[in-house]
Structures are given as C-alpha cells and as structure tokens.
Symmetry: C2
Subunit: 461 residues, 2 copies
C-alpha cells in the first residue's frame, strides 16, 4: 500500500468583515462584525491551532472594489472586503498566542520599499520563532495604485519585472547580508556582531537600489515561506521561480492539469518538483445529515447578498455586471442576444458556460456561482477531501461561510476524521513553518534563487 | 496650597539591543541580548504597567550609525542601535498583553506611503482600543535615505515641506473620510456602512496625491496621539502646529526657557498652550545608600563601551570623533590647538564647553558625557523628579542603563514614592491614551489642524 502524504490545511481569511461569504457576516451567529476586536481573531487562531491547521492565511486588498456600477458604494454598503485592516498588525499578536500555527501575510510589492519591508518580515519571523509566510502580490485594484503614488496599473510585464527586482532585493537582505556566525554576543569583549560578516548587498536593479546591510540579524527562516497565486503565463513563470506554495483551480476536475503545469514551471526554473506545494480552495457546508446540510446550504445561499456577489465578481472579472438585467438568461448572454455582453472577458464567459442550465436567469446563475460548496455530513466531506488528495493537491485553503462557525465545524468534526484517515497531521512537527511543511530544515533549498544569492555572496550553500 | 498636576512617565526605548546604554547590554544581569524574544518585551511592558507608566516609547533608526571612522563597523560591533527591529511588529503584541499602557511608534514620513501608513496606525489603534501614539520623524541618517529610494538627505526645508504634506494627507484619512455614523452594521438590511458617509479625501499636495477613502473605519482616537522632537527653528514651528507631546532639553536649568519656546510655538499656531505636554529626558542610577549608588554609577560608567559612546555622538553631531586623540584635552580642542577640531559643529562645541574641567582628556569628557545620570537613593531621586516638575515639565522620558533593571528599580522604588507625593497617578484613568493624558475625550481639540481638516470636510467640530 502506498502511504499518501498528509494534506496541508490553511484557513483562508482576510482582516475584514467579509471575505468570500457574500454578506453572511449578517447571519445571526456570525461574529465577523467583531473584526476590530483582537479577541475575535485570537479565539480564531487558537481554534485553528487546536484543529492542527498548518496555516492562517491573510489575503489583502488596498482599495474597495469599484467596478460594479462604476463606484465603490456597493462594496462599502455590503461590507465586501471593506473596511480592510492591516494584517501585519494582527499577525504578530496571533503568533504570540499560538505555538505552531503558521501565518501568511499578503503584501503587495508596490506597498512599501523593499528595505523596510524586509525588516518587517524579519522581525515577524524572529518574534514568531520562524512561522511567517509571505504571499507575494504584484497586482492591485486601480484605486490602490493611485493612492500609493502610481499613476495607473503598470502593464502586466512591467509588474513582473518590478516584482523580480523587488524579490531580488529582499532575498539579498534576508540571505546575503548577515552571515550565519555574524552575531557574537560576546559580553566580555562587548562585541555584539562581527562587522566583517555583515555585508552591504549593493543591489542595483531597474527599479530598486538597496545598499544594505539588512537592519536585523538573521531570523529563524531568513526568507519567509513564499506563497504565490499564479494565473497568467507570466505569473506561472514567476511563481515557478519563487513560490514554495502555489494556488491552483477551485475545480477538482481541472486540478491535475493545473498542478502539472505549476510543477513544470518550477522544474523549468531549475527547482525540484517536490520543492513546491500546490493548494486548492475548498468550501463546505456541513450538517449532521445530508438533508440538514442541504437545508443549511439553501438557507445560507438565500441569505447571501446579491450586491456582494456582483460586486466581487465584477472586480474579479474587471467587468461591470450591473450591465446585465437580473432576468437575462445565461443562454441569452452567451449567445450575444444581450447587448451588454459585448466585451465580456473570457474568464467570465467560461464561468457562465459552466452553468448547469443555460435557461437560468443571471441572478440564479450568480447565486449558484457564489455557493459552490461541498455540502454534506462530516463523513461525506472528509471523503471529498480525500478525493482532492487523490487529485494530487498538497493542501487545501479552507474558505469560511460564517465565521467562526465554519472553522468550528472543521475542527470539531473534520479534524478527528481526517486525522483518523491519515490525511491530517496528528501532532505538529517542531521547528519553523518551512520545516513543518517540507521537513528539511528552516531554510530554502539551494536551488532557490534566494539561496543562490547567498551562494554568490558568501560562496556557501 | 497649589495642587500641582501629576507628571507623565514614559519608558524611552527602541527595539534594539542597546539604546542609550553605551554597551551596558553586556552587563551581567542585562537581558537586552534577548531582544529578538517576545517574552523579554512582554515582561517589560507588564512591568511598566504595574508601575503605572503612561507610555512605552519606541524610537527607531533606519541605518546603522556610520559617521565614526567613516563606516558602520563600530555600530555593528558594539551593538549601538544595531541590529534594529521593526517596532510596528512588537507594539501590537505589547498592547495585547496590557490594558492601560500607551505605546508610541516612531515612524519616518519617508518610510512608507501615507495611504498604507494611515491604515497601519488605524489598525493598531483599533486593536489596542485607542492606546497608540505616533512620533513624527522627518529626518534620517543618510544611509537610510539611500536605501529607501531617496538619492540623499533632502534639505531641511524640503523635509518639513514634505512632512506638512504627509501629515495633511494622513489627517484627512483619519478625520475626514469616514463620518462618525458611517458604520451601520445593520444585519437585517445587510448594510455595513453608509456609502454616502464615507468620503474620498482627494488630497493633492506638492509631494503626495491620495484619493481615499480611508481603508479602515474610524478607530477610537482617529488620529493617534502625536509626538515630535523639535530642535531646529523650522522643527519647532512644525511641532508647534502638530505635536501634542514635545521633547525638550535634557538639561534642567535650560528647561524653562525651552518649554516657554515650545508652548509659544503652539500658541503661534493657533492652539492653546495647555494642548501640548512637554517631556524631558531623565536618567538615573539608584542605590540603597548614596555611597552604594555612587559606587554602582562608577561601575556602570567604567563598563560603558567607549566605542559605543563615540559612535553615538559622532552620529548625533554628524562629526567623526575618531579625529581626536583620546588624550587631547577639552581645552586644546576648544582653543583650536587640535587641528582636527576644525569644523566641529556648534552643538558639539557647546557640549565640550559644559565639561566641569577643561583639563580633562577627551576620553574622560566622553565618558562623563555618557553618564549624565541622577545618582542617589530612591528618596533623593524622587526629590530630583519633583524638581523637574517645579521646572515646568509635564513628563519625563525615562532612559535605561541596564534593562530591565532600571525599570524594575523605578517600579519598585520610585512608583510608590512618587505616588505618595502625588506626582505619579495612583491608578489609570479609563479611556483612550489621549483621554488619559489630556482628560478631554478621545479626539484632538478643534484647534488642531487634523480636526480643522474634518471641519472643512464635514462642517462639524
């Protein structure tokens, strides 16, 4: 019998009222309106650690969604990823109240200079004893760019050129500035560091000049665990070069193909295919019987806010869905019978094509699309997760419908069942987040460009 | 009998090994080498709260000191404010483990865009329930500027022009974007915010364009409590316009004049003189007898690292003190008998002139200058603090010699004595940091430019 490796589990979240729940913050038992209270998040982190989650993932956006109806009113009103607080303020606290849970911070490379960003991450890695991941983001909503001093959204290629330059600079700060034995902490000689072993990085790239040295001494992981979500082909190349955890399709049938493509991109970049882990998104609604589950799923779907759904997908597709009449059918839209469908981007067309009935109204389609959950009993959901493992993913990013209820259901019902199946860890491995996930020590492997920067600087692996 | 207002107390610190202790991190009982461990700082914050300190103040630098000998070797070797971690990562944790202590974050206006900085501060203010202060810094070491994408140090005037623009932008985000009743959190209607009450700020200044709206909803204080250290005349004007807490001289004889100047600057800017609090620095060495105190002071002074002292003052004065021979006398330097003294800046000349004996060697002078402590018993130090109050200061920023020992001495010996004298609070006031200090609610007074921005936007006070 082939022993399958366990799956990794991440709680997919954002420091917001409402992430992908489409208005279910208003569900009576939701505690999401406590978003500004530290206790809500502390309890959630402790719950996840009790359930042996590997990661607490924080997405981020730097502007309200404003494509739907051409303004941000719907996002503000429905609370769809608005307001959005700074996850870098919350994560240090959550790391303090936990021992093993990892934390992924999303930060856009256009958000702050690499020099101070690198210090922030190193500090987080120090204080959490090596449990920090960085989700590298290169894109943003146009509104964010204007607010950050960028005239508009740079071209796709320029964004990745800038991203390559940015990560090259932070890699050098993390890996190629302070040697491993630079810190002496010699109380007799009153020497804290050996200046001969603390180096300038002298990074001069097309976008960034960073001299160094790095302001902090080496943290447990040096470079944080690296996440990236790759969609475009340029994005996949970038992810293949840099990411240790990548996101793939939400669709299980398409997963094997997508996984193969992502692993190939890593190999293409000179890395080993087992040096990347692939995560899929996973959303569920649980009942103690199938009937109870279906009933709850229906109730939740009915309670979702259509405004929130349309606001989010308008943003995702960069297409104002208010142009459709809610009674337009999917067939009419796809056939071009609706004038507003002109300019509908391929990704939206693909989503519409997946509708089970082309005679559905646009409203019914939108509500269906927003409720793509696995619905069932703890046992059937565990079975579904097992099927994801068979499809070749390494981990699942767990969406919530109502928080903390979704995660309570997971921890109380799924954690024991998945552990019994050998799919979930029965205890945490000691060591840094990277070691917990890859089992090979705290640092990146020598094939990774960050470690290559170190080899160039120090002549060591 | 005139009842004097109590004094405010702040612990002057930095997220470093060694702040102003000049190498005493190496003193046997110092725990400063635990700088990367969260427990060291958590214990310190809890100690300060037990001792009813008002504030835990975090200074910051963004490059190692590199004037002494023209390089950064001495700073790295002696650990003088190097390495330096990110205080914005630590403060959220310390706020989580305390209930009443305030926290001052130093952040340079050249460090990150106003849009994301404002979000960071609002998030910290939310999670700490209104206990955050911002120490506005407009200057930096040249090495920091190069690393942050600024070619060199901008001129003094340009820096303050930029600072005015920066604070104008963040004020509008904090005060003039979300109205007080913008958040509805209406679960029935599924309306979180009223978009008509969330405004763009449309800030277009000479340096920054920020459209808004602010990403987070109003935090308890909206604008954090504002600190500024003002030295130059442009600096005093800036501080007079903006700061609620200002720093004055370390020298008690000069304090009244300096205090009058700072209060006048606030009045000049249209504010009331009681809307600013003036803090002086205070450093002490305590023994159970005068003799024991003197003996400890001598021991600490002997153990200070001369390299650390010269590195720091070379940086402060922007003058390489390695140009002097350690045996040059103060008189020789002041008289110009030492060629290296050419170009000695006035501030350094003033410090040398204050030497008790002009026949002292430069080394003796430097060690004396680094050991300007009040030395005595708990009773005599309490007396000295009372004298500071008589000199008209509102608060003291307490330096440490050896941490946490200095603060343990304060909390165990001085807190009870100062409380008995009515000079220190006997319990914390409830409410936000600003309310604890000014007793007038969570927000800035209407005379402050941040609240004026709000009046312009909303037509309310």
């Amino acid at each position: 019998m082939i022993r399958r490796p366990r799956l990794l589990f991440s709680a997919f979240n954002e420091f917001v009222l409402s992430h992908h729940d489409h208005g279910l913050w208003a569900y009576p038992e939701s505690r999401q309106p406590e978003l500004n209270s530290v206790d809500y998040w502390v309890n959630l982190a402790r719950l996840l650690e009790r359930g042996r989650f590997d990661l607490f993932f924080f997405a981020d956006v730097l502007a309200p969604y404003d494509i739907y109806r051409g303004n941000r009113d719907a996002a503000l009103r429905s609370g769809m990823q608005s307001p959005v607080n700074d996850p870098a303020v919350l994560i240090p606290i959550l790391a303090y109240v936990t021992q093993n849970l990892g934390f992924a911070l999303t930060e856009n490379i256009l958000q702050e200079p690499p020099y101070t960003f690198a210090r922030k991450i190193s500090t987080m890695d120090h204080l959490s004893r090596g449990r920090i991941a960085w989700n590298i983001v290169t894109s943003f909503l146009p509104g964010a760019g204007r607010n950050l001093g960028h005239a508009g959204l740079p071209s796709h290629e320029e964004r990745y050129g800038r991203a390559e330059d940015y990560v090259a600079a932070v890699y050098k700060l993390w890996e190629a500035s302070w040697e491993d034995d630079a810190v002496l902490c010699d109380r007799i000689a009153q020497h804290y560091a050996d200046p001969r072993k603390v180096h300038e990085i002298n990074h001069h790239g097309p976008y960034y000049d960073v001299i160094g040295p790095h302001l902090t001494e080496p943290s447990p992981q040096r470079t944080p665990l690296l996440f990236q979500a790759a969609a475009s082909s340029v994005g996949v190349q970038f992810a293949g070069r840099h990411a240790e955890i990548l996101f793939t399709s939400f669709n299980r049938t398409m997963a094997p193909q997508s996984i193969a493509r992502l692993r190939a991109a890593a190999v293409e970049a000179g890395r080993r295919s087992d040096q990347v882990k692939i995560f899929a998104g996973f959303s569920f609604v649980m009942g103690s019987t199938e009937q109870e589950a279906r009933q709850l799923a229906r109730e939740l779907s009915d309670r979702q806010s259509l405004e929130s759904i349309l606001t989010k997908f308008s943003g995702f597709w960069n297409f104002d869905l208010s142009r459709f009449d809610l009674n337009d059918t999917v067939a009419e839209i796809l056939n071009g019978d609706v004038a507003a469908a002109a300019g509908l981007p391929p990704i939206a067309r693909q989503a519409l094509s997946a509708a089970p009935e082309k005679s559905w109204s646009f409203e019914r389609f939108a509500r269906w699309m927003a409720a793509q959950h696995v619905v069932g009993t703890p046992e059937s959901i565990a079975e579904e997760i097992t099927a994801w493992q068979d499809a070749g993913v390494d981990g699942l990013n767990i969406y919530y419908q109502v928080s903390p209820r979704t995660y309570e259901d997971f921890v109380n019902e799924l954690t024991p069942r998945l552990t019994a199946r050998g799919i979930m860890q029965d205890s945490y491995t000691s060591g840094t987040l990277r070691h917990k996930i890859f089992g090979n020590g705290p640092f990146l492997p020598p094939e990774h460009p960050a470690r290559k920067a170190r080899q160039v600087a120090f002549g060591t692996s």
